[in-house]
Amino acid sequence: MSEQMTKPKSMLQAAGLSKTFRLGSRFRAGGIQHLQALKDVSVEVQTGEILGLVGESGCGKSTLGRCLLRLYDIDDGRITFKDRDISHLSQRELRPLRADMQMVFQDPYSSLNPRRRVRDLIAEPLRVHGRHSERDVQARLRELMELVNLSPDFLSRFPHEFSGGQRQRIGIARAIALSPSLIVADEPVSALDVSVQAQIVNLFMDLQEKLGLTYVFIAHDLSVVRQIATRTAVMYLGSIVELGETDEVLHRPAHPYTAALISAVPEADASGRIKARTILKGEPPSPTNPPPGCRFHTRCPIAQERCRVEVPRLMPLGHNRSVACHFPLQGSAGHA
């Protein structure tokens, strides 16, 4: 804790992460397939920031979130949490650290045990880590309910008595019960109604201010990420293709994929005119059989011969910005 505060302090560092899943079986048609969910991903989460992870389904954003918390074992690379190498700790060794890093899940319907009361759901982490006496637990429960704007009267109810937004609040209360410093939120608002999404996004921002939390916020909705994230990493087929300050990335994208993703977002423009769009052709290739070279070259509007053979590395572009593209878009680097 004796470091100077001039440079933002890093809370979590991942270097060269790779993760491959084995699919299928020796005894089935197609045999064993390897799905490379993460390929050489390096990212740093700074203390007090909200890092947004965006990308389409199958791009590896959830896998990355889970690997960062070591909920999945990693195949290759190094993860440092608060200056401690956690890449190869056993689950037992990780347990004391779990109190300091928590997760909020996407689906508030399946992530809460339907047979337990809210009281027990939220108290479970407190009891598991055994730091609180039973009286403290009761006081802490009321405090937590207040933090997530739920009435303490709800403590003796069951999850099915709540709406989706309220359930997500319960999930959040559970995650912050042990006062963690890092929370990975995996699509926490995408299962909610539009009018409720805004409430939960606001709650995440309020809690960050009150409790000084650091988030990794995974979402596929760019407008939600723009609202909440300080920095944003854009992923495509298991790699980070662009990383930088959220406003920079979303308003001056350097990677053609980021630009296409932004242009695909339908917007509620009052005038009702259709904005000029670059519509990508096709769909992301299967991660079991990724294309050689730049993984985006099959859909890239500006792909050239070099892209088909040479894998672009994530290179700094100035202004805390990096991009993995041989031909980064103009107008992005110019201002740096």
Partner: protein, 347 residues
């Protein structure tokens, strides 16, 4: 519907009047849709927007006469090309479904049968409605898949639904829905399960449909951005009633119902100033059993008044209609109403 007729003289294709859907249950009658009336003109894309439980999907199922629950009570009239679908025999309905009125569902995986190939399922429609031979039907199916932008359509026609990606499956379903050139296409959240880049492709496809086939479309969604991209007119539903409707630019540019206003504001903006906190609508949409008396939106409304204990009718203002007491005498001035309430709270 005077407001509906001012703009164009296009013929009305579908005319729904006072549609009510309720279900008998142990606890009494549960009202899902209450007096829903709307029209769809030829070559028009009508967007129905709403959150879960608003009744938007129930409306489309009622039009297709797909509510089969014996406890359902359906009243009102649904006139398609002058014919009342609620009075039509099951035999007549069967000849209409698929050929005249087609539907695309949110989840193509559950809407298609897993045990037949994509090609077979498209063929089945063509053979039933257009009496084509197997060979001709297969050729047409492959052609349709190609028109929907499916790469190597002949190969895809031989695949089973589980072998395709979500985007391809949705294209196959659209191909199936369009196989008999329907005059009316009902699309129930067709892009909700898809990624944005694929969603953009499907939205473009649906707009092309109108241009190429001259179909009318009812597009059901919860996403205001999608509404802005694809529709001509918008109907916003809340708790089984119509909250607001009108031409798209009017509704999105000058909402006259506080619910529409709240929905538009709660979407984080992609441009301009980032608000410190998103304006949000408190609470959550009511379940059909727990709908409040009077105006259904009043418990969540910033502009609640005494009169809201009585349910407001749809008030006409220009081209728009809104079921809010504030819209009774002309379009509401939200800034002024907000100021009045702020002053009232301070006093």
């Amino acid at each position: 519907m005077p407001a509906d007729q001012t703009q164009t003289t296009a013929k009305t294709l579908l005319d729904v009047q006072d549609l009510c859907v309720s279900f008998r249950s142990e606890g009494g009658l549960i009202r899902i849709l209450e007096n829903v009336s709307f029209t769809v003109r030829e070559r028009e894309i009508l967007a129905i927007v709403g959150e879960s439980g608003s009744g938007k999907s129930m409306t489309s199922l009622a039009v297709m006469r797909l509510i089969t629950d014996p406890n359902a009570v359906i009243t009102g009239s649904i006139r398609y090309k002058g014919r009342d679908l609620l009075q039509a025999s099951e035999r007549e309905m069967r000849s209409l479904r698929g050929s005249d009125i087609a539907m695309i569902f949110q989840d193509p995986m559950t809407a298609m049968t897993p045990v037949y190939t994509i090609g077979w399922q498209i063929e089945e429609q063509l053979r039933a409605h257009q009496k084509l031979s197997r060979r001709a039907a297969r050729a047409r199916a492959v052609e349709l898949l190609g028109e929907m932008g499916v790469p190597s359509p002949a190969k895809v026609a031989g695949r089973y639904p589980h072998q395709l990606s979500g985007g391809l499956r949705q294209r196959a379903m659209i191909a199936m829905a369009l196989s008999c050139n329907p005059s009316l296409l009902i699309a129930d959240e067709p892009t909700t399960a898809l990624d944005v880049t694929v969603q953009a492709q499907i939205l473009e496809l649906i707009q092309r449909l109108r241009a190429d086939f001259g179909s009318s479309v009812i597009f059901i969604t919860h996403d205001m951005g999608v509404v802005a991209t694809v529709s001509d007119r918008v109907m916003v539903m809340y708790a089984g009633i119509i909250a607001e409707r009108g031409p798209k630019p009017a509704v999105l540019g000058g909402p006259q119902h506080p619910y529409t206003l709240g929905l538009l504001h709660s979407i984080p903006p992609m441009h301009g100033v980032r608000p410190h906190r998103l304006p949000s609508i408190p609470g959550s949409p009511p379940a059909p059993m727990g709908r409040p008396a009077g105006c259904a939106f009043q418990p969540r409304c910033d502009f609640r008044m005494d009169i809201c204990a009585t349910r407001p009718p749809l008030f006409h203002n220009g081209t728009q209609e809104a079921s809010c007491w504030l819209a009774e005498k002309g379009a509401p001035d939200w800034a002024r109403e907000r100021a009045i309430r702020a002053a009232g709270d301070a006093a």
